[in-house]
């Protein structure tokens, strides 16, 4: 199952909720304001690092660019809209709105 997050995990607990209901190897896609959690050095970086041991994490390039997030936590994969569509095509989706 693909899990998507579009709100900033720095202002609510959505990342924790998502992780709590995620199975190993399930991809997590961050887009819109969720990409702020990709900024290197943010307080949730340890959570991201821990999650990356079991789950691939993707961030949407267009949303990173729009927000000037260029220095990313290591291990996060950058994808574009077409990559987003591929992921959605390959999985059932849970949107953590």
């Amino acid at each position: 199952m693909l899990h998507t997050i579009n709100k900033s995990p720095l202002t609510n607990n959505v990342l924790y909720s998502c992780i709590n209901y995620t199975k190993e190897n399930d991809p997590i896609l961050l887009y819109e304001d969720a990409v702020f959690v990709c900024q290197k050095g943010n307080k949730l970086e340890p959570i991201i690092n821990n999650t990356l041991k079991k789950n691939p994490i993707y961030a949407l390039k267009e949303d990173l660019d729009a927000r000037g997030i260029t220095n990313l936590v290591d291990g996060i994969k950058i994808i574009n809209y077409s990559g987003f569509v591929d992921l959605v095509e390959q999985h059932k989706v849970m949107s953590w709105l």
Partner: protein, 125 residues
């Protein structure tokens, strides 16, 4: 030609508290509408969504019509799979006795995750 009903496993994930936003109420409305189409429906209450099931809610003072009573009607609509996260309850200081008296199943996040993965579609509210 006979009409064949395609039955899907649909889970409504209730994550928002009632009253502060329309999500919880709308989610319940959509469940009732969907129930008319003979689908395999379940509702899962996690995070602040569990507050929707809190007993003793009285919305008179905030000028909106409470919808808590509607939960008692779910059984009549054949919506019988109501799952509640054990962790979300305890995080909020709630126990089974704090919730309304309807037929719910309290489960761990892990059990809920497994059931989520058996679904055809998930509707987050």
């Amino acid at each position: 030609m006979e009409d064949e009903i395609i039955q899907k496993k649909m889970m409504f994930i209730m994550r928002r508290a009632p009253h502060g936003s329309i999500y919880s109420y709308e989610g319940l409305e959509v469940v009732l509408i969907t129930a008319a189409y003979d689908q395999d429906i379940s509702m899962t209450f996690i995070d602040d969504g569990v507050f929707a099931l809190k007993k003793d809610q009285n919305t008179d003072g905030i000028g909106i019509k409470g919808f808590m009573k509607t939960y008692f009607a779910l059984d009549d609509y054949d919506v019988q799979k109501l799952y509640v996260s054990e962790e979300s309850l305890s995080d909020r200081g709630l126990k089974r006795d704090d919730l309304i008296d309807i037929n719910i199943q309290i489960m761990s996040q892990k059990e809920i995750t497994n059931i989520m993965n058996e679904q055809d579609v998930l509707f987050p509210f």
